[in-house]
Symmetry: C2
DNA sequence: CCGACCCTCAACCGAAGGTTGAGACTTCTG
DNA sequence: CAGAAGTCTCAACCTTCGGTTGAGGGTCGG
């Protein structure tokens, strides 16, 4: 069941792998690779004399591991379990893995920021901020005294917006994203609507759970779709 | 600049905080809270006699910390830096923080799965899988020998789809999400188009970088928007 | 006044993630 | 064909992280 190939795939010794990885991961060492094997994250073939032999796939796997460590701070245990789950699909009737409890999804750190603070933290200019509020991308909270306050979600939004704006997108493009978010919210909202109609706390909690889980899944779905499409875009030369 | 309040906000002693947190975090201890303070993640007020006094905000902050640990395995250092960045906005002209290098975003673990394996790993039924392929949500790779193969992104998609389907969404809803992803891809694609036209490796790399960064930012933006809207949906009773 | 609660500070702890070095074999290189 | 460079295993060791434990002592509520 291996992929057909005409020329034997290129393989590498441990030292060659290190050199390959060095540019992206300067910290990598021979002993670390061996350590990863000892922990069961990789399983390179061996030559007759006992030398490790790495295929392209092995190298990709190592890169993946190192990136998860570097970019998401994941413990090796967790990375391993992802890799394993991957590999030969978990056994038997799979319960759809549901994410963290709703509290986590809807958690807020409780900070609140003035427009001024938001600008400083995000890097947005006053005009940009105004435009974003105007387009409904940012929605400040009105306090009784008339001043506006932003929450932690808004900071995430503002930072992301700043990033996109400096890359050349315009506020109207961000409005498009906002519309997509609205549609997504509607979709999910419908799902929870029946539960929210009769307002008892038990149903409310249940609704929160469903919404959190589905919102997360929907985000993952969309992100993976976009990533896949972009990858293809880059691949076809 | 504090929020106006009529009745003094409720405060709590360390033991009371523990009791409050126990349900969601059974592992919590007094010493752990003190430890978090020693690491500078929280800074409760003190009474005249030196007792720690926790406000609602402090409690929320602790909950946030504990959730980041539990759900995203983040090291305390990283959580702290997020909290600090938050708080009083990083100083001075903010360079838009850009994410990890493009390799990370477009990274693939290099696994490939047969339809059968994908079903087992995701929990999708054969009909569901067919329907998803039909709607363009999943796009298998055709091998020369005619068999179909899925990549790691597809596994993420399949799992998320399964999660949503068991929650009551239908394939046509997922198609909606796919369309949103298409639009998003177009939007980003335009941004990189000029660079991709003249095909030299330097431009290509640059395009990858921009795409990865913007895709990430766009996802964050949309997610934060959806989260905010859902939160409001739940809040208004 | 007593029992429950809280404080600090220093010492200690286990797990995670590697590193180091000794001793021995294998593989390139001139 | 020698020797330098690369690789192997295995056990000991190391640092950082994320706390725990305990001694010694003050504080609060009934």
């Amino acid at each position: 069941m291996t992929r057909p190939h005409l020329r034997a795939a290129r393989t590498r010794s441990i030292g060659e792998v290190i050199n390959l990885l060095k540019p992206e991961f300067p910290e990598i060492t021979v002993s670390k690779i061996r350590f990863l094997e000892s922990r069961g994250l990789i399983e390179p073939q061996r030559s007759a004399s006992g030398y490790r032999i790495f295929t392209e796939d092995d190298v990709r796997r190592i890169e993946y591991i190192l990136r998860e460590q570097r970019d998401h701070y994941l413990p090796l245990k967790v990375i391993k379990s992802k890799l394993v789950a991957w590999e030969h699909g978990e056994e038997s009737p799979v319960p759809p893995e549901s994410g963290p409890p709703p509290e986590a999804y809807f958690a807020s750190s409780g900070v609140s920021l003035t427009p001024r603070e938001l600008m400083r933290s995000s890097g947005l200019s006053a005009e940009q901020l105004d435009a974003l509020v105007d387009q409904g991308v940012l929605e400040p909270f009105e306090l009784p005294d008339g001043s506006a306050v932003f929450r932690d979600d808004d900071l995430v939004i503002a930072k992301a917006a700043h990033r996109l704006l400096t890359r050349g997108l315009e506020v109207r493009h961000l409005r498009t994203i906002r519309l997509a978010a609205d549609r997504q919210t509607d979709l999910l909202g419908q799902l929870a609507a029946p539960l929210l109609r009769h307002r008892n706390p038990d149903n409310r909690r249940k609704a929160a759970e469903i919404l959190a889980d589905c919102a997360e899944a929907a985000t993952q779905l969309e992100e993976a779709l976009v990533r896949g499409r972009l990858r293809r875009l880059l691949e076809r030369q």
